[in-house]
């Protein structure tokens, strides 16, 4: 056996039997280092003839490649083994209960207001606003309910201790309709407005809370007609309830601020205890509508000979309850954890 063969055999043996990265480094140094065996051998080549140089040099290089490959393979092998050992020591019990990041919920009313707002916006209706504390003038008079109009007795109005001014006593608005007047006074027709917000009436039982929310809609132009109103409400409700086959019924009714006036019903049926809108022949009242009374237009500084318009108002809690099956109105304002987790919506917009 030549010296080279001996060296190769001993190197391979050492590499193979090594199981420690440090030791492997030492082996590498002992072979390839400054005074390493192969380095030494290469130095010794100097004294040889060209032919010998070529012959022995080639042998040494082959030896070098073999050992170096073996070393690299061993390095990877040992590194992997080391990492596996380390990882194994990092064991955790992944079955431990792990709560998701806790997000809060969005109130169903807010959700419904957002939906209504989006639909209204798509028809070109602009959101208008008005104060929650109104005067008798805006809440009643401008809506064609003069003093002692029997319609005033239809509302159980909350009055405040703020006294009266030229617009009468201050009260909590009983409907969002005063926003109509504010909007009309601030703009020139034609226009399309809607309003959403709190209204207050002195009533409290399973189907009435002293506070609830309404959406109000007003469109004024020269030729806005009852036929337009019928189409719009039907289309709006179809979109809101995502019920393209919804039937909408208009029944004559009375509101002081509209003429003609209508109550709006939509059809439904009950399937497996759930309300399905747009099929069946049962009717459910959803709100009131009509053509704006000329007196209301006049109070809004609009020439009622040239302009006409429609208006409607729906209860938002009712819409939310019908769409999302929320029972008992009172829970909207006296919610607890369980109610929120059942009827609240994820903050991720859907």
């Amino acid at each position: 056996m030549s010296e080279l063969d001996k060296l190769l055999a001993s190197c391979l043996y050492e590499i193979a039997s090594c199981n420690d990265l440090k030791k492997l480094d030492q082996i590498k140094n002992a072979v390839f280092g400054k005074n390493g065996k192969i380095t030494e051998m290469l130095k010794e080549l100097k004294g040889l003839s060209d032919v010998e140089k070529r012959e022995i040099g080639a042998k040494i290089n082959a030896l070098k490649d073999t050992v170096s490959n073996r070393l690299n393979v061993k390095f990877v092998e040992l590194e992997v083994a080391l990492q596996e050992k380390k990882l194994a020591s990092e064991f955790v019990d992944v079955t431990m209960p792990t709560p998701p990041h806790q997000g809060g919920t969005i109130h169903p009313l807010t959700k419904v207001m957002e939906e209504v707002g989006n639909i209204m916006d798509s028809y070109g209706f602009v959101l208008a606003s008005g104060p929650d504390i109104e005067s008798e003038y805006y809440n009643f008079t401008t809506l064609n309910m003069p003093d002692h109009h029997p319609a005033r007795t239809m509302h159980d109005t909350f009055y405040t201790n703020m006294g009266a001014d030229e617009h009468g006593r201050k009260l909590l608005r009983t409907h969002t309709s005063p926003v109509q007047t504010h909007a009309m006074l601030a703009h020139k027709p034609p226009f399309r407005f809607f309003a959403m917000g709190r209204v207050f009436r002195s009533d409290y039982d399973a189907t009435h809370t002293p506070m609830f929310n309404q959406v109000e809609c007003l469109m004024v132009d020269k030729e806005v007609s009852f036929a337009n109103l019928k189409w719009f409400i039907a289309d709006f409700l179809k979109k809101f309830f995502t019920a393209p086959n919804l039937s909408v019924r208009f029944r004559p009714s009375f509101f002081p601020f509209t003429e003609p006036s209508a109550e709006v019903d939509m059809n439904y049926e009950i399937k497996d205890g759930e309300m399905i809108f747009g099929s069946g022949d049962k009717w459910l009242e959803i709100g009131g509508a009509g053509m704006v009374h000329p007196n209301v237009l006049r109070y809004g500084n609009i020439d009622s000979d040239t302009y006409q318009g429609f208006a409607f108002g729906f209860g938002l809690e009712r819409m939310a309850s019908l769409k999302y099956g929320v029972p008992d109105l009172r829970n909207y304002f006296e919610s607890n954890e369980r109610w929120r987790s059942k009827f609240g919506f994820s903050y991720v917009a859907r």
Partner: protein, 791 residues
Amino acid sequence: MRFTFNWLKRHLETDWDIYQIAKKLTTIGLEVDNFCDPKIMFRNFKLACIEHVEQHPNADRLKRCVVADSHGKKWRIICGASNVHEGLIGVLALPGAIIPSTGEVLSRSKIRGIESEGMLCSYDELSLPSDDANGIIDLGPNVSLSTSVGDALGFDGGILDVSITPNRGDCFSLKGIARDLAAAGAGKFIVSDDISSKSSFEFPLHINYEKSDACRRYAPVIAFRVIRGIKNDQSPDWLRSLFLAIGQNSVSSVVDLANLWLIDSGRPLHVYDLNKISGQLAIRFAKNKEKFFDIKGREYILHQDMLVAADEKNVLCLLGVMGGAKTACDENTTDILLESGLFDPIFISRTGTFLDITSDSRTRFERGIDRDSCISGLETITRAIIDVCGGTASNICIVGTHPNVDRSIRLTEEKLHRLSGYEIDWANAKKILLKLGLKEVSSSSEASTFLVPSWRSDLSIEEDLIEEILRITGYDNSPEEKFDAPINCNNTILQQENIIMAVKRLLASCGLSEVVSYSFIKSTYADAFKEKKKVIQLLNPISEDLSTMRPSLIPGLILAATRSLNYGQSCVELCESGNVFYDACLQETHIAGLRAGDFQDRSWIHNSRKINVFDAKSDLMTALGYFGLTEKEITIKQEAPSYYHPSRSGTVYLGKKKMGYFGELHPKINKLFAVSEVMACFELITENCDISPPVISYKDKVFPKINRDFSFIFDTSVAIGTILASIYRIDKKITKADVFDSFILEDGKKSIGITVTLDAIDRTLTEEEAQIISGKIIKFVEEAGGELRKK
């Protein structure tokens, strides 16, 4: 309005059945609340006579009865009613019958061991009004057993219950309802004949009608008549069973007849016992604080703008609103005075509202009655009373004068088409108005003028006529017409609302759940949050708990939190947006949040800790972050409203503008709401958030930044936030100044580790430049009371 179908048919010739009529009524705006067809309702019910009664062997209070129908068929019935006796004719429900009061189907059942083959019904069980609470129905001995149950109970073809909208005074009568139905094609309206009774004697009373303008406005005209020699017994059977079916109490013949004609024709009348009137009758305004006792003996204190009928001693009647006890008719009444007036809706409404009296009479006067019915109404009732009670009538005495208020309305074809949105046939439209009793007084090719009938005080403008035409045609017969959305609309307020929405979503992503609370709260709660502002109170709150407009959103959040804490929740995280109210600015929109109890639910993953002021601050900074604000732009002052913990709360300013508050709540608030957990809240004044987010410049190429850490020692009172904000102003290249470490030293001072990022944005900063800026920072902090810590 509850009435029987056959009664309606006295005014309407029709071959429609009750179902068709009910449907039509709703279609034309006279909404049918409910109606019943006795043939359906009383299927499996029949009249039966009790033939034999004996004691139930197992129960003291029960009886075993044998009952028989008209064919002699017999059933064994167990009955517990106290009025069970042999010979009683009552209503028998047989298995399969649906009991109206419960909606349940009757089946055979064993009662205390003995089978009952049916049930003898009470009025209650049939959902019929009755004074007799315990007994079964006793129809009296004269009823034929072969009569149908519906007829025996006065159901007369069926019962309809109709809601009348407040504008339709005329439809508070069967006459009015029939007229509408006829116009809508449901039959022919039967015009009642004019009748007049011959007078047998001179009107004997002197009526003193106050000659003032106010009186003439309140009661323009009143007609009187005396009838003598009547017998005021119990009403005849047909009238009593009719009243039973429609839920009206039967009093005596005269009173019942007046009520009957009230429902029939909508004409309120008042009947006085003539012999109880002392001296002359005055129609005058009440004296201030004058007393009045109504027919049920309730006392009212009157006011001087209420019109009354009075004799020399007492107020006898609150005209148009309520009759009095003094001259009420009873079984001894022989001579009566009838009063048929025209009273002004506004005065009647005021009097009724002030005294809180509702009556059938007020309801009708308030909504407008047929102006021309004073005399005809008096004639009709005279005939009815004489027919039933006998007697002779005087001539009619009239005080005041009939107002001449004939009204005509011009309707143009153009407006009809423009408002309805389709081409309604003009001739048909006019025909509808004529059927409703309007008279065409003039017409041209494009317009007609109509005279409004005396009973339709609700019709005054062109639009009213258009509604009549559309209503009678049927709203469902008018078409739908689409319109397009404009391309641009500037929905500014909606955008603002969407911003609030986005902030709420952002807060929800941090764990806060949205609640909606009442705008009004208990006054003691409001007082604790009002600061120096004046709160707005309700004069007529629904309860003390909901009596004061909230000056802050926090109390509502605390109430919502208590519901969760009491439910056992250890971690409560809530937010709300809405208006707060106080005298100076009426309303202001806030977004507020509350955290109470543990920070996050207890878990092995993180160490549990309680909520503190910094959780609230973090929430507020998250919300402000939506508007592009960071601690770099704002100023925080160690001050807050008094409901916050005095030394663990702050106010955020942007320049001089107050943006909001944050902090732990004051223990006095915990005490007030009985909450033991620490609560940390924030309030954001959204009105002040009308700021456009800053434009952040963006460079694609990034140059290395330099970070420098400093360790300073401060007195505890030094506001680090203010120091950090000032550091930014030292040099534009300082892009970030933050605290990476904070602890209290042995001597009580605080050690604060500040890290600063330097970035020239468009080039690499040199070491020299960084050194200069660092020097400036140290100099500044030292001047502000800090001391560089020696290593």
